[in-house]
Structure formats: structure tokens, C-alpha cells
């Protein structure tokens, strides 16, 4: 049914719309393989790193696009380049560290040398020794090299795509979502405050669904609700990119909502009289021109930019297997932060990450689903809160941006 080798599409069998998601898409090996080719190495912009992580010529980061290892590096012309982390010769990794500074990428295996733009320029003993041996006649270095990515920079974020013909990133995200990246990062110099990697025991798409799920946020996460970081009754909404794949969910302070009886009437678990001994955790400073205290932004397929009060972080979602995902967190501050502002960010970072008061549950919920759907491959998830289609919404009790993700996903996977 889903055999790539037979030429059938791996999503054949997904009969319905994006309001129903068959569980086999979270466990099927063929789907996982096809995603690498059609999606990550296809028409998508993948987050690579922050510009601030490679400020000087020769600075590089070794990361992944899907499961494909890539290098992103600044050359001496000041431009950022990206190419596979794979030697042109026999396929060894070129960069063995996660980050560093170098003048070129010389493979440790046979010393084949590549420039900072990914061009093969040196082959050890290319002319042989003492007039004999050497590479076969007709071998031309410029015919070989790791595949290159197209690079886009967006307000200090660096993205790469294996598809030369992909839309510009601003068009890919749409004006509204691009504007929300700008809102957080424009005109500011990012400073990395910390980096942590969380291993998720689930398919990468379950985490993507979670980040786009504005319906769950104040139900699963008690911390948010109780401290009015993210009540559904606050002002807010979701924005979805034209293709559905990227989104923003946001909420803003609304004092009138405090009077709302909607929550008590629902008798949700997350309504409690939970109190903090040290409320300085939630003391924030005015950072933006609006009242938005929470903005979760995703860029298809694997990137999240998060503002929770003054806690800014980027998350990179890296699939490692059908049921294993790496979530890479980078906590961000800015060069002009005062000491006091930096301390606020460090305190608020307790909200997020693998141990975060707000995001801890997101680390295990994907695993609960992955384990729950074992043996139910022919069953499907229901995504009908807020309707059956996707688009902007002035209401966050919706699964609209998840449906948008599946629409963008299927558009790429089914072609």
C-alpha cells in the first residue's frame, strides 16, 4: 500500500481530508523515507542556525536538514553558504565538531579539500607520485562536490533549502508570519544564552502538531493557565500561512478576561489555586510595542520561534527515525540587554526546555501518543476543533493550524 519501490505514493490510503490523520503516518518506515526526499530535501526551508552563531569568516555550524548532515558557514566574502557535510570522495563527514572556525573543509579520510562554499578544490596525490599513479584521466574536481543548499537569511535566522526554485522565504511564510518574525528579531543582535537537546520518543510530526496546537496549551499546561500566560479567554488568535504549513499562535493581556466564567464552568483540571513562593519568575519587562505576551511561530517543516513573556527561544525539530526525534533548543537574549533583563530571561527559561514548567509535558505527550497508537495503524486522529479547513482565526480553540500543516505536508508528499 505504501511501497516507494513499486512507484506508489507512500500516502496512498489516506482517503479523507486533513481533518482526519491516519495513525500509520507516525510509524511507517516508507513514509519516513519519503519525507526525507520529498519534504526535507524538497520544497521546504529548513532552519539551520542563527546568524549570530557564525559572525566571522570561517565560523561554521554542523547541523541537519531532516536526517541529512549539512554545514552552514560564513565565507571570507561575508556571505553564508550551506552544503552537505559529506566529502565528495567517499562520503565521510567533513566537519566532526558541531561548531567551530576553519579555513576550509579537508576530509580526514584522504584529505580531499573543499572551500567554505562547498567546492572541491584539492585531491591528495591527484597527480600521483614520482610521475606515476594519480587520479584517472578525465577526472575533474569541479564535477564533484557535496550538494549545495540555497540559503536565506531572515532577521538573524538562517534557513537552507535543497530546492533551488523554492519561493523566497518571505513569500513562503507569507507577509503575516514574516511580520511576526520581524516583530521579535528585527534590528536586534541575538546572543545565545544556552543550548539544550531533548530526545523525544516519538515521530517528529507529533511534536510539530503539538507546537501548532493552540487548543491544548491551556488544558495540558497548568502553569500557563494559572498564571494567565495563556488563557483561551485572553485576546489572541492564530495566523496560518497561505499554504497552511507555517503558523503563529498568539495571546495578549486582556484584564477583562479575568472575570470570565468560561474556565470555571468547564471544570478543567488546569483551574487551581496554585501559588508561587517567588513570583519574580513571572516579572517581565516591556520588550515589544504591543501587549502580546505569548507568540509561538512555526515555519514549515521543522522550526519554531517562541516568545513567552521575555523568554525567547528557537527550536529545531530533527527527525532521527519513525519514533525518535531530537528537539534542539537555543535560548536567546540580545546584545543590548541590561544585566537585569538578562536575569529575567534566565529566570523565565525555567518555563521552557526539557525541564520547563510549561513545556515539560510536551516532552512526554508525543510519546504517550506514539505508544497509544501502537496496533491502531488503521485508525485515525480527529482534527475537527474549529472546523475542517485551515486559515486565520480570532479564536485559539481550534486545530486549524494543525490542519494547515497536513495540507502543506500532503501537497509535497503526494506529488
Amino acid at each position: 500500500m505504501k511501497d516507494v519501490a513499486t512507484g506508489q505514493n507512500p500516502l496512498d490510503g489516506w482517503e479523507g481530508g486533513v481533518n482526519r490523520v491516519p495513525y500509520w503516518v507516525f510509524s511507517d518506515e516508507d513514509v519516513f523515507r519519503a519525507e526525507q526526499q520529498k519534504l526535507f530535501r524538497g520544497k521546504s526551508w529548513n532552519y539551520l542556525c542563527l546568524e549570530a552563531e557564525i559572525p566571522n569568516p570561517g565560523d561554521y555550524v554542523a547541523t541537519f536538514v531532516g536526517t541529512t548532515p549539512v554545514i552552514v558557514v560564513r565565507d571570507f566574502d561575508g556571505q553564508i553558504y550551506s552544503f552537505e557535510n559529506r566529502c565528495a570522495h567517499r562520503g565521510s563527514l567533513l566537519a566532526l565538531d558541531d561548531r567551530g572556525t576553519t579555513r576550509d573543509f579537508t576530509c580526514v579520510y584522504h584529505a580531499w579539500r573543499h572551500t567554505l562554499q562547498g567546492d572541491l578544490v584539492g585531491v591528495a596525490f591527484e597527480e600521483g607520485m614520482y610521475g606515476t599513479g594519480g587520479m584517472a584521466e578525465g577526472f575533474c574536481k569541479s564535477d564533484h562536490g557535496p550538494r549545495k543548499l540555497r540559503v536565506a537569511e531572515l532577521y538573524g535566522l538562517v534557513f537552507g533549502s535543497f530546492d533551488e526554485d523554492i519561493d523566497d522565504i518571505e513569500e513562503y511564510l507569507g507577509d503575516e508570519i514574516t511580520g511576526r518574525v520581524k516583530r521579535v528579531l528585527d534590528g536586534r543582535d541575538c546572543v545565545v544564552l544556552g543550548r539544550f537537546t531533548q530526545i523525544l520518543p516519538n515521530n517528529w510530526k507529533l511534536y510539530v502538531e503539538n507546537t501548532k496546537d493552540s487548543y491544548h496549551a491551556s488544558i495540558l499546561h497548568l502553569f500557563f493557565t494559572t498564571f494567565e500566560l495563556n488563557k483561551l479567554s485572553m485576546k489572541g488568535g492564530i495566523l496560518v500561512s497561505p499554504d497552511g504549513g507555517s503558523h503563529v499562535s498568539y495571546s495578549a493581556v486582556d484584564r477583562e478576561a479575568e472575570q470570565s466564567k468560561a474556565y470555571q464552568e468547564q471544570q478543567l483540571r488546569s483551574q487551581s489555586d496554585y501559588q508561587l513562593a517567588d513570583e519574580s519568575l513571572l516579572e517581565n519587562f516591556k520588550e515589544f510595542d504591543d501587549d502580546i505576551t505569548l507568540q509561538i511561530l512555526s515555519a514549515f517543516p521543522n522550526f519554531v520561534l517562541q516568545q513567552i513573556q521575555n523568554c525567547i527561544a528557537v527550536r529545531q525539530i530533527l527527525p532521527k527515525g519513525p519514533d525518535k526525534t531530537e528537539l534542539k533548543w537555543t535560548y536567546v537574549g540580545f546584545a543590548d540587554d541590561t544585566d537585569q533583563q538578562r536575569r529575567v530571561r534566565l529566570k523565565q527559561s525555567n518555563l521552557v526546555g526539557p525541564a520547563g514548567y510549561v513545556s515539560m509535558e510536551d516532552g512526554c505527550i508525543g510519546g504517550f501518543v506514539q505508544r497509544g497508537i501502537a496496533g491502531a495503524e488503521d485508525k485515525e486522529a480527529i482534527l475537527e476543533m474549529g472546523g475542517t479547513d485551515f486559515g486565520n482565526s480570532g479564536n485559539r480553540i481550534t486545530e486549524g493550524s494543525i490542519r494547515g500543516f497536513w495540507s502543506a505536508y500532503r501537497e509535497r508528499m503526494e506529488t
Binding site: F196, D278, S280, P354
Partner: protein, 162 residues
């Protein structure tokens, strides 16, 4: 930091503190965990990579006894996670010396396995406690504990403190 005389009595005191701390967490008595800290105590969990790079943020970053108590309240009353427990195995404490503020600076290796609800026992973390200890009414307390994990990876989530 200056050198200090490391007596057997001091080493016994430090060892007892470290062992009591591990027993408290492993026996699921985390309500008592804040009592190991001074009022101005600092607790964080980070990784060797972040520490080498001089990056300040932590997986957990608690400044003061109030924040430390809140961690316990959140784990007990707010956060959702699957039941699990730890077993800490500690190395010998090494006394580095006395800080300018008079605290005793100590490093102790830790090795922690996590036992999950379904019965699996996995190596969860290895690393080193970088501690500052101070006597309060005769008892040694932690004025600072930075748990530095050797690996940059955290499996699923970090709930209970290390």
C-alpha cells in the same frame, strides 16, 4: 579561592550531606529537598558543553529558596509526567578550597539511572556537582549547586531534580 585544611571530619560531613541529598531524591522525599539549600541558595542544571562555552542558561535555573521550593510545588501539583524515580550513585567529594565568601567549594561526580513506570532502568545522566557549601547553625548547606551533565542530551524530560 584559597586553600583550606581538609580534615577527616570535614570530609565525613560533606560525604554525609551528599549522601543525604541523594537519598532524599531517590526516596521520593523531594518536599525535603529545599532544606539542603541556604536561603540565598542557587541551583541549576546545565551541560558540560554550555559550561565550556560560558553560556549561563540552565535546564533548571533557580535563584533563591523561593524558586527552589516552587520547583517542588510545580512537580507535585502542576506538571504532568509519567511516574519515575532516580538512583544516584555518587563519587568521592573533592574539596577545591575556600571561596572569597568563605564557602567550601566541592566537586562530586554523579551517575543517575532513571526507573520508569513500565520498569525500564536507563542511564539518565552522568556529570559533576559544582557546589559551594556553608555552615548554617552548624549544619552544612548548599549555597550553590550547579549540576553539570556530561551529555548535551536529555531523554524525554527532566522532572525530578538531579
Amino acid at each position: 579561592m584559597k586553600d583550606m585544611a581538609v580534615t577527616s571530619d570535614l570530609l565525613v560531613d560533606i560525604s554525609q550531606l551528599q549522601t543525604r541529598y541523594a537519598r532524599c531524591i531517590d526516596a521520593d522525599r523531594i518536599e525535603e529537598w529545599p532544606d539542603f539549600f541556604t536561603e540565598d541558595g542557587f541551583y541549576s542544571v546545565t551541560t558540560a558543553e554550555n559550561r565550556r562555552a560560558g553560556l549561563e542558561a540552565g535546564l533548571i535555573w533557580l535563584d533563591g529558596i523561593g524558586m527552589i521550593r516552587d520547583r517542588v510545588t510545580a512537580l507535585r501539583d502542576a506538571n504532568i509526567y509519567e511516574r519515575h524515580s532516580y538512583r544516584h550513585v555518587l563519587g568521592q567529594p573533592y574539596v577545591l578550597g575556600e571561596s572569597d565568601g568563605g564557602d567550601i567549594e566541592v566537586e562530586t561526580s554523579f551517575f543517575v539511572v532513571r526507573i520508569t513506570r513500565d520498569g525500564e532502568t536507563d542511564v539518565f545522566a552522568s556529570g559533576c556537582y559544582h557546589d559551594a557549601l556553608r555552615r548554617v547553625d552548624g549544619d552544612l548547606k548548599l549555597s550553590k549547586r550547579i549540576a553539570v551533565c556530561d551529555s548535551s542530551h536529555i531523554d524525554t524530560l527532566l522532572g525530578l531534580p538531579l
